[in-house]
């Protein structure tokens, strides 16, 4: 029994080490791909909610709740791709991402918080409440795009 526990601990430690290793050794272009992919997916699941809120698509509470649930996970992904090693990659990230990292991190957290709230509200299925939180979430996206993303 004790031996088995040790085994599990060793494997877990190795696993954690391996994934840490992967992130640390990831090539800048892979990191860029990681964060851009995450952003594409966030847009993919966020956009249809907006279309429903504006009446461009029929409101479907189940789809909104599903998308918002995905978004809650997706929102946590892009931050990982913003490693200093990607500084010189040709992307739309402004130099301020690195020169004002604290503000950038705060903006990222802010977006995650708003999306978390959106996922909560979406479970309720109340369109009015969802629309309000959708607007707040959109603002948190825009705030970061304005300051840290080239046009």
């Amino acid at each position: 029994m004790k031996k088995k526990m040790v085994m599990i601990a060793v494997v877990a430690a190795l696993g954690a080490g391996a994934s840490f290793q992967a992130a640390a050794q990831a090539k800048p272009e892979q990191l860029v791909k990681q964060r851009q992919s995450a952003m594409v997916l966030i847009g993919w699941y966020f956009g249809p909610i907006g279309a429903m809120m504006r009446g461009d698509r029929p409101f479907d509470a189940a789809v909104v709740a599903r998308n918002a649930g995905y978004l809650e996970v997706l929102s946590k992904l892009p931050a990982e791709g913003f490693q200093p090693s990607t500084k010189d990659e040709k992307t739309k990230a402004k130099p301020e991402v690195w020169s004002d990292k604290a503000k950038f991190d705060k903006a990222m957290e802010n977006m995650q918080g708003e999306i978390g709230k959106l996922a909560q509200v979406a479970k309720g299925g109340d369109m009015g409440a969802i629309k309000t939180q959708f607007g707040a979430t959109g603002k948190s996206c825009a705030a970061c795009h304005d300051d840290f993303r080239m046009k």
Partner: protein, 225 residues
């Protein structure tokens, strides 16, 4: 400075309504564009309305009252230079309609508004909203037009500031009642100012042209106002 002794009607009702509606919608567009979030939907509608107004003003520039017509106020470089000299001298600079330089400002403002509203139709914010014509262009093209939408915003604001600064100069330095004239339609001119015979077009014609502009915009954006 010779005293203004004559009250002359220069701006017809459509021009005045156009001007102040545009001011209101411009400010609303600016604010809603800054507020983002759910305000973007209203930003879009405001842009459609501005587009209709600008189209109307262009039509009115051909079919409207004398002082609204482009042919009546577009002047060559010589006239602009002479007017600039008069403006900077102590002499009065009364002109019945748009002065030669102000006339070009009208064109610049209309074109920059047209560019702004036009690029907005194809724009996307990479978050949740797209202009009604986004679907007809590639994402790359939309991004490029969106960038123009952002940059032209600054250009437009620069010209609006210049326009307002010029009006302030006319009102306080040249002692002309430009702002009240844009409300009442009547300007105070001095005896020496040449006042060409002006013909005023019917406001009903303006209403028809504006309705046509609205329909044209609706057919393009396929969205109710």
């Amino acid at each position: 400075m010779s005293e203004p002794t004559r009250a002359v009607k220069v701006w017809d009702l459509p021009v005045r309504l156009f001007h102040w509606l545009l001011v209101a919608l411009f400010l609303f567009s600016l604010l809603s564009g800054k507020m983002k979030g759910n305000w973007m939907e209203w930003h879009m509608y405001s842009g459609f309305a501005i587009l209709a107004l600008v189209i109307f003003r262009i039509l009115w520039g051909f079919a409207g009252s004398t002082h609204a017509r482009f042919s009546s106020f577009l002047a060559g470089p010589g006239a602009c230079l002479r007017f600039a000299k008069r403006l900077l001298s102590k002499a009065p600079a009364y002109v019945a309609g748009h002065n030669p330089i102000g006339g070009w400002m009208v064109i610049i403002l209309l074109l920059s508004l047209l560019l702004q509203a036009g690029t907005g139709l194809f724009a996307n914010d990479d978050i949740s909203i797209e202009g009604p014509l986004y679907k007809f262009v590639s994402k790359e093209m939309s991004d490029r037009l969106t960038a123009i939408h952002y940059y032209n915003f600054n250009v437009m604001v620069f010209f609006v500031f210049t326009h307002v600064a010029a009006v302030v100069f006319h009102v306080f330095v040249k002692k002309e009642n430009l702002v009240s004239a844009m409300f009442t339609g009547t300007r105070n001119l001095d005896a020496a100012t040449e006042v060409p015979a002006a013909r005023f077009a019917s406001s009903w014609l303006a209403l028809i042209l504006f309705a046509l502009a609205l329909v044209a915009v609706y057919l393009v954006v396929k969205r109710p106002f």
